[in-house]
Every structure is written in structure tokens, then in C-alpha cells.
């Protein structure tokens, strides 16, 4: 490794090409929901996790996942992993809920 100790996410100063101007976009509804969920989990009333934990979780996603996921996909993945670690969500309930949502989306798509 040419740069000993640099972690994958710590990209300051690495070549990244020109800045794309005019690339701003509105946030999708699901992205706003991810932001809202994180804020609610971290608020003074619930205090279930900190933004620092979320950042740590993002840094631990692995280089391939980090590069391939969008910004809010990384938030969602990290938040989910931390909630599982803390026992706030179980893998089983999450898996079952994901099945339900997938089935609902499929039914909606077929019905429309």
C-alpha cells in the first residue's frame, strides 16, 4: 500500500476529476425519510445512536459498497447495521418486513 494508514473513505487530496457544475438535484422522498429516521433515532428523547456511530458504520461498509452506494444508501446501510448491533431491530423482523414491502411493490406494479 503506497499510502500507509489511509482508510478508503478518507479521500481528501486524491484525484477525483473536475467538479461537475449544475449537478444539484432534489432529494427523493425515501432520502428525506432516511434523514428523518436518523434524526428521530438520535434526538434527545430517544438517544439511540449518534451521528458519529453512523459515520463509523459508513466507514466500515467496505470499499466496494462505499463506492457503489449513493450517499443516502450509505446512511441507510450504516443505520440498519447499527440498529441490529444494538438489538433495536432484529435481522428476522427486518427480513420479514423487506419481504412484505417487496411483495407490496410487486402487487402495485402488477395492478397498475
Amino acid at each position: 500500500m503506497s499510502e500507509f494508514g489511509r482508510r478508503h473513505h478518507d479521500m481528501g487530496g486524491l484525484g477525483a476529476g473536475p467538479v461537475e457544475a449544475g449537478n444539484e438535484h432534489d432529494y427523493a422522498y425515501w432520502e428525506k425519510k432516511i434523514d428523518a429516521v436518523r434524526r428521530l433515532l438520535a434526538d434527545e428523547k430517544r438517544n439511540l445512536f449518534t451521528v458519529d456511530e453512523m459515520r463509523r458504520g459508513i466507514e466500515e461498509l467496505g470499499a466496494k459498497a462505499y463506492d457503489e452506494m449513493s450517499y443516502y444508501e450509505r446512511w441507510a446501510a450504516s443505520t440498519t447495521n447499527i440498529l441490529i448491533e444494538k438489538g433495536i431491530l432484529t435481522i428476522d423482523e427486518l427480513g420479514r418486513r423487506m419481504e412484505e414491502v417487496e411483495a407490496r411493490l410487486k402487487a402495485d406494479a402488477e395492478g397498475s
Binding site: E3, F4, G5, R6, R7, D10, G12, G13, F49, T50, D52, E53, R55, R56, E59, K86
Partner: protein, 98 residues
Amino acid sequence: MEAKYYVGDAVNVRRAFPPGHVRTPYFIRGQKGVIHEVVGTYSNPEELAYGRDGKPALMLYRVQFRQSDVWPDYEGSNADTALVDLYENWLEPGEGAV
């Protein structure tokens, strides 16, 4: 909490590469700078990141660096500077003014 450094003090950023969640960017480690602002006291993010309480809190500083020091191939003005927020545990006393 009392600040160890004050505006104008020369500091060096520790050249350390521990694993784990660290808020000191790679590119600034080992660089010399000057305290630009004493920002205040914050819970330690290196502890908060693992679900602990972040105590004792750390003093946070806004430190000014010369761009031409930070980037060996910097083509801009020699007067250009960069400001980086750094926690006290990453700073050591520097020598003289930069």
C-alpha cells in the same frame, strides 16, 4: 475546560494512523499549522462512534495551514491557506510561527 492552545500558537498535527473512526483527515496528519480559532468543547467523536459517552470531552480548534505546505504540487498562491477543525488530542506544540 481550559484550552491548551490559543489563537496564533504554532501546532503540529500528530502523524498517527490508528484504526477506527478518526476525524483528523489523512492529508493533514504530520502538517504544521497555526491556531485560527478555539471552537469549543465537544464529546470525543472517537468514543461516540462506538456507542460510548464521549467523556472526557475534547477541545476543538480551527487550525490554519499553508496550502503549499499541505500539497507538494500546489500551483496556487503561496498565501493560500486551508482551515481544518482538529481535536486537541491530535495536536502537539509547534515551534515558532508558520
